[in-house]
């Protein structure tokens, strides 16, 4: 979720960074320091997941949030995940399953080092927010076996019928009230204060407003942002350990001002090679990116003048652009509704509707799907989604395949070929449209 390596032994001097990126890097580095110094400070650690991340609640108990997916991403960006995945396979994990899980387990087996080079502390609690991904449940069963610590299950029902029901919300609120909160009180030794939760939620709303403001600038031509590669930076704090904090408010206010300035100046996105050239193609992207070759992958787009104007991956930690905001007046219900609404907890027809709407609202040239070998939650059904979005919008769609953090499944030549063919297809469609006009 956060492509900024929190600390890097060999800083890439040739990479252009926005001021917001530098700020985020500092935030991430401070977070990892806070996490790895927990044994000295006495802070207690709560491992949890990005989708269905209850950071506002976790903070009520003074727990430090640790997100294994984000650690896997960090290891992908730092080219460590390939070795970790192999290590996990060596100790008995199947080559067929999620590489986030295997990167995490391999990292643990190899010393469990955080990006700052210090050891991750063992968690005091695993908060299994089981939201939008079956693998989460197995992942934390595996970690529970390793750490022998208490594991709290929060089951988020799936929106199979395209909506959430009163029954689903009540079920989640009951789990939170009668199970999750009492256990977190016991483990942390901190009494739950609902007013503290409300304050945290209020802060979330402010950051959420600014995040949506940033993402929606992509409706302009040229788009001042890339809502996939750049968007992954933008979601880092809010999907990670910072939602509900003053740091997040400050970051998103800063980011929004930065992006609005680019918009006012008519600039396109900032890429690792500096300002992007002329915007030639506007795409909606479905699916997570590849992290092991992140920059190379991004370059294939900006070299061709392709900018991503909307993406589904930037909604896995919360869908805010259709109006949802955390509501401090109903603190537990709002946490439930947040979990229910995250992208991968939405039915396939909902996802098709959302992507079709993005293509229309962001005036995109088409849909590109990056199908991830590791992630059935995203990937199963994407070929049908592609056809449906094409049918509904009349815009061409394309399909590429890679993996999150397993470098064995990133084939640069193959992806580049497919992208070039796709851009040609868009050109042909434009030519045909001009001929008809």
């Amino acid at each position: 979720m956060n492509p900024t390596p929190a600390t890097s032994k060999s800083p890439a001097k040739d990479v252009e960074k926005d001021a917001s990126m530098r700020k985020q890097k500092e935030m991430m580095a401070a977070h990892y320091d806070r996490l790895t110094s927990a044994p000295e400070t006495g802070a207690k650690v709560c491992d949890t997941f990005v989708p269905g991340n209850l950071n506002e609640l976790i903070m009520c108990f003074d727990l430090v949030n640790n997100l294994p997916e984000v650690n896997a991403i960090q290891n992908g960006l730092r080219r460590l995940s390939g070795g970790y995945v192999l290590e996990a396979e060596k100790i008995g994990h199947s080559e067929d399953v999620c590489t986030y899980v295997k990167s995490d387990l391999g990292m643990i087996a190899k010393g469990n080092l955080a990006p700052n080079g210090k050891k991750f502390p063992d968690p005091d609690v695993l908060l299994l927010s089981y939201t939008g991904c079956f693998t989460f449940m197995k992942w934390f069963e595996l970690l529970r076996e390793r750490y022998k610590c208490e594991t709290i299950m929060l089951h988020t029902p799936y929106m199979g019928d395209g909506k959430f029901t009163r029954n689903m919300v009540e079920y989640m609120v009951k789990q939170l009230r009668d199970d999750v909160i009492p256990k977190l009180e016991r483990i942390s030794g901190v009494k739950f204060d609902i007013d503290r939760l409300r304050e945290n939620l209020k802060r979330s709303v402010t950051a959420e407003d600014d995040l949506v403001g940033v993402l929606q600038t992509a409706k302009h031509r040229p788009s001042p942002i890339d809502a996939y590669f750049g968007g992954i930076y933008y979601i880092g704090p809010i999907f990670g350990a910072f939602r509900g904090t003053d740091d997040a408010i400050e970051y998103y206010r800063f980011l929004r001002a930065e992006v609005e300035e680019r918009l006012a100046e008519g600039k396109g996105p900032v890429t690792p090679d500096g300002d992007m050239g002329k915007e030639k193609y506007r795409l909606v992207v479905e699916g997570p990116p590849n992290y092991t070759n992140f920059r190379q992958f991004w370059k294939m787009f900006y070299d061709e003048g392709a900018v991503v104007v909307a993406s589904s991956y930037t909604k896995v930690g919360g869908v805010y652009d259709f109006g949802f905001r955390h509501d401090p007046s109903k603190p537990l219900e709002t946490l439930a509704e947040y979990c229910l609404g995250v992208y991968t907890n939405r039915s396939l027809p909902m996802r098709i509707d959302m992507l079709s709407q993005y293509v229309r609202d962001y005036d995109a040239d088409g849909l590109l799907i990056n199908s991830i070998k590791s992630c059935n939650s995203f990937s199963a059904g994407q070929l049908l989604m592609m056809r449906e979005v094409e049918k509904r919008t009349g815009k061409p769609a394309a399909f590429i395949e890679s993996d999150l953090v397993d470098p064995r499944y990133f084939s640069a030549a193959n992806i580049k070929n497919r992208l070039e063919s796709y851009f040609q297809m868009i050109e042909q469609r434009r030519g045909a449209a001009r001929a008809v006009a």
Binding site: G92, D96, L142
Partner: protein, 395 residues
């Protein structure tokens, strides 16, 4: 419907079950539907749905477990990437090829992300069919997960009542629960007999007879089970010098019948397994007194099988179901047979293997697909496992 089938010998009964197994057009379910006006059929995927509610609506619950090794998948592959398991693509194939055109509803239980997403695909591809993702609680406290589940069951009851045009009554539900209680008792009896005398009840036969319950009405299936139990008890079959194994991981995509046969030919009597768990998911009789939905919910919460798709809240209990299955059936080892790309089975496997190691139970592992054709490597692996058990057990 529960009249005797009058198939006196195991050969006849197994031949009948084999015909049902091989029939990819689901002729018996079609015939059931055509036998009276207004009848409806509701399909369901693994692992578990409360078939009692479908039956109480006067409908036929039809178990769909993919296309097996005889179905040529032509269209289904176009819907899935190469790294996704086989069952959804063959299920799509069954749908687009018209083999399920008589099915009025489809239930997709909570088992994994692939089947979950298939529920949405079905809504898009077959909008005329009632289809539902059937969620079950991962919290097993009565007034938390229990209440949620009762409401889910109520929604299903109401939807199926609307599908038939008349609400489902408590009496209808109680009657159906009683029939399924009896059916589960018979399946458990068959499993117990196999654990006791596996040479009398070969794994492939047991599989076929139990699997017939996916396409037959519960009444017909109970009759078939009774007749098979009577027939095999009346025969004496040769006893081989096989070891005894539990097969696990086979709860969703089905192994080819040849794979099951190969295990026994290689020297492993299968004395327990997690095939077709829907037929014995609830491990006790569900009460027929009082609120039927509450009874079904309580049975699910407190008396249902353990499997990878179900959260185990107690770490100490994780995997113990497998140790108990080994002890209960007198098994000497465990075979992990997992479909390729099956997240639940493959992610669970290392934990279960650690539990078995701690309990001193030997195991082997391999993967398969429903259309796997080459059995020689599996036969060699199972044969070596059987030999090692015979050579080294007790030392």
């Amino acid at each position: 419907m529960g009249a005797p089938l009058n198939m006196a010998t195991t050969t006849e009964i197994v031949a009948h079950a084999t015909r049902l197994y091989e029939d990819l057009n689901f002729s018996s379910a079609r015939e059931w539907k055509a036998a009276a006006p207004g009848r409806k059929v509701v399909g369901y995927l693994p692992i578990y749905v409360p078939r009692e509610i479908i039956h109480a609506a006067g409908m036929l619950p039809l178990g769909i477990v993919g296309g097996g090794d005889q179905l040529e998948v032509i269209h289904g592959d176009a819907y899935y990437q190469s790294y996704i398991c086989r069952i959804p693509r063959s299920t799509i194939e069954l749908g687009v090829s018209g083999r399920l055109d008589f099915v009025d509803g489809m239930l997709f239980p909570s088992i994994c992300d692939v089947i979950r997403n298939l529920s949405g695909m079905w809504k898009v591809m077959f909008p005329q069919v009632y289809s539902r993702y059937f969620d079950v609680p991962q919290n097993y406290v009565d007034d938390i997960g229990g209440n949620y589940y009762i409401s889910e069951l109520s929604e299903l009851r109401q939807a199926l009542g609307e599908l038939r045009g008349k609400p489902i009554t408590d009496e209808e539900l109680a009657h159906s629960i009683a029939l399924y209680n009896e059916n589960r008792r018979l399946v458990r009896e068959l499993y117990a007999l196999r654990a006791q005398r596996p040479w009398q009840t070969p794994a492939a036969e047991v599989y076929l007879v139990v699997r017939a319950g996916l396409v037959l009405s519960v009444e017909q299936h109970s009759t078939l089970l009774r007749e098979y139990l009577a027939a095999v008890s009346a025969e004496e079959r040769p006893r081989r010098d096989n070891c005894r194994v539990v097969v696990t991981g086979v709860f969703c995509e089905q192994p080819p019948l040849n794979l099951i046969k190969s295990l026994e030919l290689a020297g492993c009597y299968v004395v327990d397994d997690d095939l077709l768990l829907v037929t014995r998911w609830l491990t006790i009789d569900v009460s027929t007194e009082g609120d039927p939905l509450r009874n079904l919910a309580l049975a699910f919460l407190h008396h249902s099988e353990s499997t990878a798709a179900k959260y185990e809240p107690n770490e100490k209990e994780k995997g113990q179901h497998l140790v108990r299955a080994v002890k209960r059936s007198g098994a000497e080892g465990v075979i992990f047979a997992s479909p390729s790309f099956c997240d639940p089975a493959l992610l669970d496997r290392p934990i279960l293997q650690h539990v078995l190691t701690a309990a001193g139970i030997p195991y082997i592992a391999f993967k398969y697909a429903e259309n796997s054709g080459q059995m020689q490597p599996i036969r060699e692996q199972a044969g070596t496992f059987a030999d090692s058990i015979k050579l080294w057990s007790g030392q």
